[in-house]
Symmetry: C2
Subunit: 353 residues, 2 copies
């Protein structure tokens, strides 16, 4: 099946979505992307989002795009009727942790309701192969490190965003139990950072970035004054929080490998894989690496811990290596270098275009 | 507020719903009931369901009824616009455990999606007081007995039905965190059985009953040949499974008490209460009690354990006693007697009318 099938990518214009579409096109998959444009820049609602235009520029290939919300059952159904879709990679979701605490219903209705509608329409159209964009947040507060895929899920998920990922995983597991024709891979991301090496696509957060790397990058480029480091009194090597950062291109390739695995005739039911490097870096490690990669000073101050944060979190990435033949190869220096490249070329993200 | 407010009861024509409406009307609440009729008998879609006609007969009071599905946002909104609703008691849900394993998406879309839509419409119309019909199933396999409200939830919920109850609880907790105007009581039922003492309303399962008491009752009345007892080798007093059965009228009164608690100005955010007797009865205990109450022999055979069943489950019911001033007063004999009375008067349930 490799490279001969048509993949529907929901949330295809987003950060992980767009980078994954690059890898799919490079491997001769036909891509149909859909996105509701709430979290991505498009000059006009009738135009392809800028991220996907750039993907076409990188790959020299065309993407079919639909401006559609996954909660719109009829529009989804039309897409499945109009195209011969083999599999779905499902990214579409709201993803801001802080916002999810403020407007939980919006998160539940979008992420769970929307996913449910997608799965219903898929089933009805007899498309029952899905790679789901999940998150290490389903593990809650780690009970042991490194985190394996057997770590309990759903316990101590402290915010609605994380719970939506956990709930959708459970829905998919139950779906596989109910109908053996379903094949599902759950990919649990650690901390995606970086940008495509071309500098044409990258992370484009709206407003104040929630994540460390885009924040650092905006400080380095002069868009923000300084970085706040939340807590330097954690029981870690330098007191700051340790996370498993993974280059977005490695992550995107992980989706390709998952797709290939899922398309094997022997693959059945569902399976979860961690996508991480297996290495933890502290906040100060990342700052240092970024300064080295960019040649810029990153101004920061240590402030108090942030509620809900944990000291350390990193993956046991051995199962993906063993079963998907996938390993992250880009180190923290490359992650910073590519972030900086993207930031410099697009100081205001896709809007810079 | 007691008795002067208008309560919207979703799933108002169901088993727990209809008995709760009786207690609300007796206490001078105005009741607006809605139901989509998928699990209740109505002679005609334009007519009030038979259960609610009987409730009017019992109480001598009128109920406003809407044949509406909670997933229908516009219809819900119209109900809130057309009536001055103070609080909602939310029963509407699909409830067959076995069916939920077979068609999980239908359960997730109905029970979670539908609840989400209801909560959105409530918030929009500034109605933020809710009593939610939850279940002891949220506790999964008991880690200790009796089960207190502090027992972990969501771990080891083995079927989609149980997960929908757990997920909706989590959504409501997050909603209360996001907006202090919300007041929510989660009622975790143990095993509701019995019928109104009048014999006019009772449990009316469609098809083969999933629960013990209606099954026993149908065997006693001759509608089924014999009862299968799933396992007599559990570590219990007589080897059969032990459950905390609670009379439906006690349960209904529990809703009234919860409503009164929630309407106190001092009540804030959310709180969960077990509704059970605190006593466990084995399957053989129930058979014996039923034979005594009915004067009929209940034919049964011991067969193998049923997957997913647990040995024992019963409530610590002390919190509801302390904080709601509520205790179940009807014992297993009354539960059986009232079930039998309902069964004899309505051998084919509401359809007998």
């Amino acid at each position: 099946m490799k490279g001969n099938s048509t993949i529907l990518v929901t949330g295809g214009a987003g950060y992980v979505g767009s980078h994954t579409v690059v890898e799919l096109l490079k491997n001769n998959y036909t891509v149909i992307a859909l996105d509701n444009l709430v979290n991505c820049y498009a000059k006009d609602v009738d135009e392809k989002p800028e991220a996907l235009k750039r993907v076409e520029q990188i790959t020299g290939k065309k993407i079919t795009f639909y401006n559609v919300d996954i909660r719109d059952r009829d529009a989804l159904d039309k897409i499945f009727k109009a195209n011969k879709i083999d599999s779905v990679i499902h990214f579409a979701a709201l993803k801001a942790v802080g916002e999810s605490v403020k407007v939980p219903l919006m998160y539940y209705q979008n992420n769970i309701g929307g996913s449910g509608t997608l799965f219903e329409v898929m089933g009805k159209n007899n498309v029952k192969k899905l790679v789901f964009s999940s998150s290490a947040t389903v593990y809650g507060t780690p009970q042991f490190l490194p985190i394996t895929e057997n770590h309990p899920t759903g316990q101590g998920c402290t915010n609605p965003y994380g719970k939506t990922k956990y709930f959708v995983e459970e829905i998919l597991k139950d779906l596989c139990t109910s109908d053996p024709e379903w094949k599902v891979i759950l990919l649990r991301y650690f901390n995606p950072v970086g940008a495509h090496e071309s500098g044409l696509i990258g992370e484009d957060p709206s407003g104040i970035p929630n994540n460390l790397m885009p924040y650092i990058s905006q400080v380095a480029v002069g868009r923000r004054d300084k970085l706040q480091v939340f807590g330097a009194d954690y029981p870690t090597q330098d007191g700051t929080g340790v996370r498993d950062y993974i280059h977005i291109t490695d992550l995107a390739i992980g989706h390709l490998k998952a797709l290939e695995k899922m398309l094997l005739p022997a693959f059945n039911s569902w399976k979860a894989y961690n996508l991480g490097t297996g290495h933890g870096y502290s906040v100060l490690d990342v700052i240092k690496a970024f300064e080295k990669a960019s040649g810029e000073k990153v101004k920061y101050e240590i402030v108090g811990r942030r509620e809900g944060d944990i000291a350390e979190c990193y993956a046991d990435a051995s199962l993906a290596k063993l079963e998907l033949n996938w390993t992250a190869t880009r180190d923290i220096f490359v992650m910073c270098k590519d972030t900086w490249n993207w930031q410099q070329k697009n100081p205001k993200g896709f809007e810079s275009a």
